[in-house]
Protein backbone atom coordinates (compact mmCIF):
# COMPACT_ATOMS: atom_id res chain seq x y z
CA UNK A 1 0.00 0.00 0.00
CA UNK A 2 0.99 3.63 -0.44
CA UNK A 3 1.60 5.82 2.62
CA UNK A 4 2.50 9.51 2.73
CA UNK A 5 5.19 10.00 5.38
CA UNK A 6 6.04 13.38 6.87
CA UNK A 7 9.01 14.17 9.12
CA UNK A 8 9.20 17.08 11.55
CA UNK A 9 11.99 19.04 13.26
CA UNK A 10 14.95 16.77 14.11
CA UNK A 11 13.45 13.89 12.11
CA UNK A 12 13.24 16.08 9.00
CA UNK A 13 16.87 17.10 9.38
CA UNK A 14 17.93 13.50 9.97
CA UNK A 15 15.96 12.15 7.01
CA UNK A 16 17.04 15.05 4.80
CA UNK A 17 13.47 15.44 3.56
CA UNK A 18 10.16 16.80 4.86
CA UNK A 19 8.22 13.91 3.41
CA UNK A 20 7.98 11.06 0.94
CA UNK A 21 5.47 8.73 -0.62
CA UNK A 22 6.39 5.14 0.25
CA UNK A 23 5.18 1.79 -1.00
CA UNK A 24 5.20 -0.41 2.09
CA UNK A 25 3.98 -3.60 3.67
CA UNK A 26 4.29 -2.13 7.18
CA UNK A 27 1.05 -2.58 9.08
CA UNK A 28 1.73 -0.10 11.92
CA UNK A 29 3.50 3.26 12.35
CA UNK A 30 6.16 1.51 14.47
CA UNK A 31 6.98 -0.92 11.64
CA UNK A 32 6.87 1.90 9.10
CA UNK A 33 9.30 3.99 11.16
CA UNK A 34 11.76 1.10 11.36
CA UNK A 35 11.52 0.72 7.59
CA UNK A 36 12.15 4.46 7.06
CA UNK A 37 15.05 4.41 9.52
CA UNK A 38 16.56 1.64 7.39
CA UNK A 39 16.51 3.95 4.37
CA UNK A 40 17.72 7.11 6.15
CA UNK A 41 20.88 6.29 8.07
CA UNK A 42 20.65 9.28 10.43
CA UNK A 43 17.06 8.63 11.47
CA UNK A 44 17.25 7.13 14.94
CA UNK A 45 15.00 5.70 17.61
CA UNK A 46 11.39 6.77 17.91
CA UNK A 47 11.23 6.22 21.68
CA UNK A 48 9.46 9.16 23.39
CA UNK A 49 8.33 10.29 19.98
CA UNK A 50 4.73 10.76 18.91
CA UNK A 51 2.88 9.75 15.79
CA UNK A 52 -0.23 11.06 14.08
CA UNK A 53 -2.29 9.58 11.28
CA UNK A 54 -4.32 11.91 9.04
CA UNK A 55 -3.94 14.80 11.50
CA UNK A 56 -5.12 12.81 14.54
CA UNK A 57 -2.77 11.74 17.32
CA UNK A 58 -2.33 7.98 16.97
CA UNK A 59 -0.80 4.93 18.58
CA UNK A 60 2.43 3.33 17.34
CA UNK A 61 0.60 0.00 17.00
CA UNK A 62 -2.52 1.33 15.29
CA UNK A 63 -3.22 -0.32 11.90
CA UNK A 64 -2.36 1.62 8.75
CA UNK A 65 -4.58 1.88 5.68
CA UNK A 66 -3.72 2.57 2.05
CA UNK A 67 -3.40 6.31 1.40
CA UNK A 68 -2.87 7.28 5.04
CA UNK A 69 -0.69 10.26 5.87
CA UNK A 70 1.63 9.34 8.75
CA UNK A 71 3.33 12.15 10.68
CA UNK A 72 6.46 11.31 12.67
CA UNK A 73 7.00 13.72 15.57
CA UNK A 74 10.30 13.63 17.47
CA UNK A 75 10.09 14.25 21.25
CA UNK A 76 8.12 17.47 21.67
CA UNK A 77 9.39 20.50 23.56
CA UNK A 78 6.73 23.17 23.69
CA UNK A 79 6.49 25.77 26.42
Amino acid sequence: MKIHVRYFAAFREAAGTAGELVETGASTPAALFRECAGRHANLQTYSASLVAINDEMADWEQPLADGDEVLFFPPVAGG
Partner: protein, 149 residues
Protein backbone atom coordinates in the same frame (compact mmCIF):
# COMPACT_ATOMS: atom_id res chain seq x y z
CA UNK B 1 -13.05 32.89 24.89
CA UNK B 2 -11.77 29.45 25.92
CA UNK B 3 -9.27 29.25 23.14
CA UNK B 4 -5.82 28.01 22.23
CA UNK B 5 -3.82 29.98 19.69
CA UNK B 6 -0.44 29.98 18.00
CA UNK B 7 1.19 33.24 16.95
CA UNK B 8 4.43 34.31 15.31
CA UNK B 9 4.09 37.79 16.84
CA UNK B 10 5.01 39.11 20.29
CA UNK B 11 2.78 37.85 23.11
CA UNK B 12 1.95 40.75 25.41
CA UNK B 13 1.45 39.68 29.05
CA UNK B 14 -1.86 41.48 29.57
CA UNK B 15 -3.89 40.23 26.63
CA UNK B 16 -5.41 37.14 28.28
CA UNK B 17 -6.15 38.91 31.54
CA UNK B 18 -8.36 41.37 29.67
CA UNK B 19 -10.06 38.64 27.72
CA UNK B 20 -10.76 36.36 30.70
CA UNK B 21 -11.91 39.09 33.12
CA UNK B 22 -15.28 38.21 34.67
CA UNK B 23 -17.11 39.68 37.67
CA UNK B 24 -18.28 36.18 38.65
CA UNK B 25 -14.62 35.26 39.22
CA UNK B 26 -12.59 35.98 42.34
CA UNK B 27 -9.31 34.59 41.01
CA UNK B 28 -7.20 34.86 37.89
CA UNK B 29 -3.97 32.85 37.61
CA UNK B 30 -1.56 33.35 34.73
CA UNK B 31 1.59 31.50 33.70
CA UNK B 32 4.22 33.13 31.49
CA UNK B 33 6.92 30.92 29.99
CA UNK B 34 9.99 33.06 29.22
CA UNK B 35 12.96 32.42 26.99
CA UNK B 36 15.88 31.75 29.33
CA UNK B 37 19.51 32.63 28.54
CA UNK B 38 20.92 29.21 29.44
CA UNK B 39 20.13 25.52 29.29
CA UNK B 40 22.18 22.59 30.61
CA UNK B 41 25.31 24.67 31.01
CA UNK B 42 25.14 26.29 27.57
CA UNK B 43 24.57 29.99 26.95
CA UNK B 44 21.45 30.36 24.81
CA UNK B 45 21.21 33.29 22.37
CA UNK B 46 17.74 32.67 20.94
CA UNK B 47 15.15 29.99 20.26
CA UNK B 48 13.14 28.79 17.36
CA UNK B 49 9.82 27.00 17.73
CA UNK B 50 8.59 24.74 14.98
CA UNK B 51 4.84 24.21 15.30
CA UNK B 52 2.71 21.81 13.30
CA UNK B 53 -0.31 24.05 13.48
CA UNK B 54 -3.21 21.88 12.28
CA UNK B 55 -2.65 19.43 15.13
CA UNK B 56 -1.23 21.84 17.71
CA UNK B 57 -4.41 23.91 17.48
CA UNK B 58 -6.65 20.86 17.77
CA UNK B 59 -4.74 19.32 20.67
CA UNK B 60 -4.30 22.67 22.45
CA UNK B 61 -8.05 23.28 22.27
CA UNK B 62 -8.66 19.81 23.74
CA UNK B 63 -6.39 20.63 26.70
CA UNK B 64 -8.21 23.91 27.35
CA UNK B 65 -11.60 22.17 27.16
CA UNK B 66 -10.40 19.39 29.50
CA UNK B 67 -9.22 21.95 32.07
CA UNK B 68 -12.52 23.85 31.96
CA UNK B 69 -14.46 20.62 32.44
CA UNK B 70 -12.16 19.05 35.03
CA UNK B 71 -11.67 22.06 37.32
CA UNK B 72 -15.03 23.74 36.72
CA UNK B 73 -13.39 26.89 35.33
CA UNK B 74 -15.25 29.90 34.11
CA UNK B 75 -12.59 30.66 31.51
CA UNK B 76 -9.22 29.39 30.27
CA UNK B 77 -7.02 30.27 27.33
CA UNK B 78 -3.44 29.85 26.14
CA UNK B 79 -1.17 31.22 23.41
CA UNK B 80 2.07 29.68 22.12
CA UNK B 81 4.74 31.35 19.97
CA UNK B 82 6.09 29.98 16.72
CA UNK B 83 9.21 30.89 14.79
CA UNK B 84 12.29 32.77 16.01
CA UNK B 85 12.04 34.27 19.47
CA UNK B 86 14.43 36.35 21.55
CA UNK B 87 15.63 36.10 25.17
CA UNK B 88 13.11 37.42 27.67
CA UNK B 89 10.17 37.07 25.27
CA UNK B 90 7.07 35.19 26.30
CA UNK B 91 7.10 31.75 24.67
CA UNK B 92 3.80 30.61 26.12
CA UNK B 93 1.02 32.29 28.07
CA UNK B 94 -1.74 30.52 30.03
CA UNK B 95 -4.58 32.21 31.90
CA UNK B 96 -7.52 30.85 33.89
CA UNK B 97 -10.26 32.58 35.81
CA UNK B 98 -12.49 30.97 38.45
CA UNK B 99 -14.63 31.96 41.43
CA UNK B 100 -11.94 30.74 43.89
CA UNK B 101 -8.13 30.61 43.76
CA UNK B 102 -7.55 26.89 44.46
CA UNK B 103 -8.92 25.64 41.15
CA UNK B 104 -7.25 28.50 39.30
CA UNK B 105 -3.74 27.50 40.47
CA UNK B 106 -4.35 23.80 39.79
CA UNK B 107 -5.90 24.34 36.39
CA UNK B 108 -3.14 26.68 35.24
CA UNK B 109 -0.57 24.06 36.21
CA UNK B 110 -2.54 21.36 34.42
CA UNK B 111 -2.73 23.36 31.19
CA UNK B 112 0.98 24.24 30.99
CA UNK B 113 2.06 20.69 31.92
CA UNK B 114 -0.17 19.15 29.26
CA UNK B 115 0.82 21.70 26.60
CA UNK B 116 4.46 20.79 27.12
CA UNK B 117 3.99 17.05 26.55
CA UNK B 118 1.16 16.82 24.02
CA UNK B 119 1.56 19.55 21.42
CA UNK B 120 3.53 18.94 18.22
CA UNK B 121 5.94 21.80 18.97
CA UNK B 122 9.73 21.59 18.85
CA UNK B 123 12.29 23.96 20.29
CA UNK B 124 15.66 24.61 18.69
CA UNK B 125 18.20 26.42 20.85
CA UNK B 126 20.96 28.53 19.32
CA UNK B 127 24.03 28.69 21.55
CA UNK B 128 26.78 31.24 22.08
CA UNK B 129 29.35 28.75 20.74
CA UNK B 130 27.62 28.70 17.35
CA UNK B 131 25.91 25.32 17.76
CA UNK B 132 22.16 24.74 17.57
CA UNK B 133 20.21 21.81 18.94
CA UNK B 134 16.68 20.45 19.12
CA UNK B 135 15.72 20.21 22.80
CA UNK B 136 14.79 16.72 24.09
CA UNK B 137 16.00 15.19 20.88
CA UNK B 138 19.65 14.28 21.42
CA UNK B 139 19.05 10.78 20.07
CA UNK B 140 16.76 11.63 17.17
CA UNK B 141 19.70 12.20 14.89
CA UNK B 142 23.19 11.07 15.77
CA UNK B 143 24.90 13.06 13.03
CA UNK B 144 26.23 16.34 14.38
CA UNK B 145 25.38 15.41 17.96
CA UNK B 146 28.48 13.65 19.23
CA UNK B 147 27.78 14.05 22.97
CA UNK B 148 26.34 11.34 25.22
CA UNK B 149 22.56 11.44 25.68
Amino acid sequence: MNSFEVTSGTIEPWILRERLADRACGAYVQFEGWVRDHNEGQRVLRLEYEVYEPLALKEGQKIIDEAVERFGLNHAAAIHRSGLIELGDIAVLVGVSTPHRGEAFEACRYVIDQLKVRLPIWKKEYYANGAAEWVNCQRCAEAGHPHEP
